[in-house]
């Protein structure tokens, strides 16, 4: 461990006083982080409402949904969702959730607010790029939502938008006209925002660490955002050109993804020479790392929050960091496991299967280290720590079903069934959401200077934890019974007996979704009425707890912090209690030094 001699740059800006520069077009990473959080909040509400519509339609297809025919007279005449509108809702649910919630909240929102503070910097390396990154993402969201209101309806090709369905245009049926074009434009814009953000995160982490903040002393949350930004830089740099090629196929008559001889609705298309599999390769080369973009910040957040409530160091921080890095590295070698049955050379299925299975090794190590951290802890049960523990449980469940899908010989049966839906919801969606919840309960006092209500938070945890198991566990059984996903209704004979299971899932989804209202209410109520937070309410060690709640404009009020310790000094005898803060110059007696 060596002391980094990098000096923090002085804040070049003075604090703006006008409303616009302070709250709208702000250069302050803390405001931008909150803006990202707000965007994710609007997006998650939208995505959740869409999932309710899907679940209601699947369980009670003939029951009219109030108000829906007013919102979309074509998509839901009389309040009954048409098959094509069901697919549109599904496509928009997934796109909004994956891009505008699971990418923006854990990475862009928390990363923006906290990464500069945790390394002791006054702001991001490129504040103007940072502002641009948020507003570009905001525009991308508007463009996507606009597709709800265009003539032939929102896109319906799924969040994966496989060509040629996504590429040939309106001839392919409803939703494939303007709506699909807007989808491709929105995602292309989104990529630009994420590329700017990733560059910023990388540069800030490498260049703006304060004195004494060596790489080895960085909190694992910072490491999580840093690794994620490296993955994001490489992944979004591939999706961006892929989306541009898709837009060209749709609007300029090119044939990157459209083969010759296509006959759609009795029309022979003029395209020739393209490959539908090219889109899948480009998409999944981004798409698989994207899964880790969603979950690795959660790894970091959990690994930073859990020790603060367990009152002991995390078990094996180096091994955990090594696991996170190897997961990021392996994520680029496994995209083909989404394509075992796509018609690519079957030999490559084996080549993609083996590294996919290898990812289970670092994932297992991480789970064992978190579990081992809880062993013998003096656990303080708060909303944040409960969501950390819940994260470990749902990540185990979601990770294990990956064993099945990573093997082509089993994927041949389970591919494109609800088993896959269960797997990715547990391992990336629910787990990442638990990371977001844990982060929110933990850092809300720092962000707004007020505590969140613990009683509401605990009710939120119990209902959500039991709820997600009731929703997603039965989907494994549906998949094992051969229930195909992305079906607007189950008319096939062999699927009819499974409809009661769908009803159970729908009831669970409605209740669990309603339980999220507790969280939304808690956020708003605590923002204005919550108990005032002290600087370090959780007795935590990292740098954000060495400044006021909320931090001043330049984060540390003109001080230049010096870091003396790693982020793991819990369970030791310090002057403040059973922990030593990173900025505390005191010596830790070797006998007491935290073990790993």
């Amino acid at each position: 461990m060596h002391d980094s001699s990098t000096q923090p740059v002085h804040h070049q800006m003075v604090e703006p006083t006008g409303f616009i520069r302070k709250h709208v077009f702000s250069l302050d990473h803390k405001v931008i982080g909150k803006q990202y959080y707000g965007l994710a909040f609007v997006a998650v509400l939208t995505g959740m409402l869409l999932s309710w519509l899907m679940r209601i339609h699947l369980a009670w297809p003939t029951v009219p949904i109030p108000l829906l025919d007013k919102l979309s007279p074509n998509g839901a005449p009389g309040g009954i969702i048409t098959p094509e509108y069901y697919l549109s809702i599904m496509t928009m649910h997934a796109t909004i959730m994956v891009f505008f919630v699971l990418t923006t909240a854990p990475f862009a929102a928390f990363g923006n607010f906290l990464l500069p503070i945790q390394v002791g910097a006054e702001d991001m390396a490129f504040p103007r790029f940072n502002m641009m990154s948020f507003w570009v993402t905001f525009v991308a969201f508007l463009v996507l939502v606009a597709s709800f209101f265009v003539g032939d309806g929102p896109p319906l090709a799924g969040w994966t938008s496989y060509a040629p369905l996504s590429a040939v245009g309106a001839v392919a049926g409803p939703g494939q006209g303007t709506g699909q074009t807007l989808w491709a434009i929105s995602i292309a814009i989104f990529c630009v925002g994420q590329l700017l953000g990733s560059l910023n995160f990388i540069t800030t982490t490498l260049d703006l660490r304060t004195k004494g903040m060596s790489l080895a002393r960085m909190p694992l949350s910072t490491w999580g955002w840093f690794i994620t930004s490296v993955i994001g830089l490489l992944a979004f740099a591939v999706l961006l050109p892929a989306c541009i090629l898709l837009i060209l196929d749709r609007t300029a008559g090119t044939s990157f993804f459209i083969p010759s001889g296509l006959v759609v609705n009795d029309q022979t298309l003029p395209h020739s020479g393209g490959s539908p599999l090219l889109w899948q390769h480009l998409f999944w080369f981004f798409g698989h790392p994207e899964v880790y973009i969603a979950i690795l910040p959660g790894f970091g957040i959990i690994s930073t929050i859990l020790p603060a409530f367990a009152r002991k160091t995390i078990l094996g921080p180096r091994a955990l960091l090594g696991s996170m890095i190897s997961i990021g590295f392996l994520s680029y070698m496994v995209w083909g496991h989404h394509m075992f049955l796509s018609g690519m050379n079957p030999f490559s299925a084996i080549l993609f299967s083996v590294p996919t299975l290898f990812i289970t090794i670092p994932a297992t190590i991480s789970v064992l280290l978190w579990t081992g951290t809880i062993y013998g802890a003096k656990m303080r049960f708060t909303s944040a720590s409960l969501f950390c523990i819940g994260f470990v449980s749902v990540f185990i469940t979601g990770g294990l079903s990956g064993f099945f899908l990573a093997q082509p010989s089993i994927d041949t049966y389970l591919h494109a069934t609800y088993f896959v839906v269960a797997h990715f919801h547990f391992v990336m969606a629910v787990a990442a959401m638990f990371g977001i919840f844990a982060g929110t309960y933990f850092w809300f006092p720092k962000m707004y200077g007020r505590m969140m209500n613990e009683a509401l938070g605990k009710w939120h945890f119990w209902l959500t934890f039991v709820g997600v198991y009731c929703i997603f566990m039965p989907m494994h059984y549906l998949g094992l019974a051969g229930n195909v996903r992305r079906y607007a209704s189950f008319t096939d004979n062999y699927l009819v007996p499974l409809i009661p299971v769908h009803k159970f899932i729908s009831v669970a989804a409605l209740i669990t979704g309603a339980a999220q209202l507790l969280f939304f209410f808690n956020l708003f109520w605590s923002r204005f009425r919550g108990e005032k937070a002290t600087d370090n309410p959780w007795e935590a060690t990292t740098l954000e707890w060495s400044t006021t709640s909320p931090p001043p404009f330049d984060n540390f009020g003109g001080r230049h912090l010096v870091v003396y310790h790693g982020p793991e000094e819990y369970g030791v005898q310090g002057t403040a209690g059973d922990y030593v803060m990173q900025t505390s110059p005191e010596q830790i007696p070797p006998a007491n030094a935290g073990k790993s």
Binding site: V263, L315, S342, I374, M379, P408, S409, I410, H476
Partner: protein, 266 residues
Amino acid sequence: MGRLFAVVLTIITIISAALVIMHVWWMPVDISTVGPRIDSQLDETMWATGILFIVSQLLLGYFVFTSGENKEKRAVKYFPGGATPLVLFAIALVGAEILVLSFVGSRVWAAVYMSPADPGSLQVDLAAEQFAFYFRYAGPDGQFGTIHPDKVQDGNGNYFGLDPENDVAARDDIIVGTLTIPVNRPVLLTMHSKDMIHSFYVPELRIQQDIVPGLTIPLHFTATQTGKYEIVCTQLCGLGHYSMRAFLEVVSQDQFDQWLKSQSGD
């Protein structure tokens, strides 16, 4: 609070595992020669992951249970031996499991997707389109007519784009909407799509394969039980995706010969 968590997690674990062990919802009957190997690979994986699931969830619950006990009176305890044994344990256990599953699983996969079809296979052509499957048999001459994409027209039933006027082999091709095959005889499906990516999935055959426009994709299998089964599309292909299906009828060789004769008599 820790005790409550342990109890809730234990209940969730027991119910989840019990429903799998009792096969309340399970795979349909297997009617394919490769099915038993696929099923045993799945069973093997289910046992391995099932045990890991139960042990790790219960262990997590137990640690949470004890972490809240008498906590003010005692010091924190560290995991005996630290992280190293856990890391080595994970590498050894999961590594061994991966090696076994990959080794056995790759052979199963290869048997289905990488081995050549039996030369005596019944050859059937499949054309997929929004939102139907069509099947083509060679007819009495044993020859398939050539496919011309520009001649594909649903209106007059020319789903394959045949040219019977100039192509003698195409004249007796049999085109039907149901896949009828004899039991216990290898079948080689040659699959095309004229518009979108579709997928051929028969849960009872344990086989699934995307049908990609621009590619000709072979798939071979042997059905071992007579009966009527559903063929469903599993690749999102447009608004009617959920209704895109056909039937697979597995019949005796005699019935098949009769059926073929009656079809070519038309």
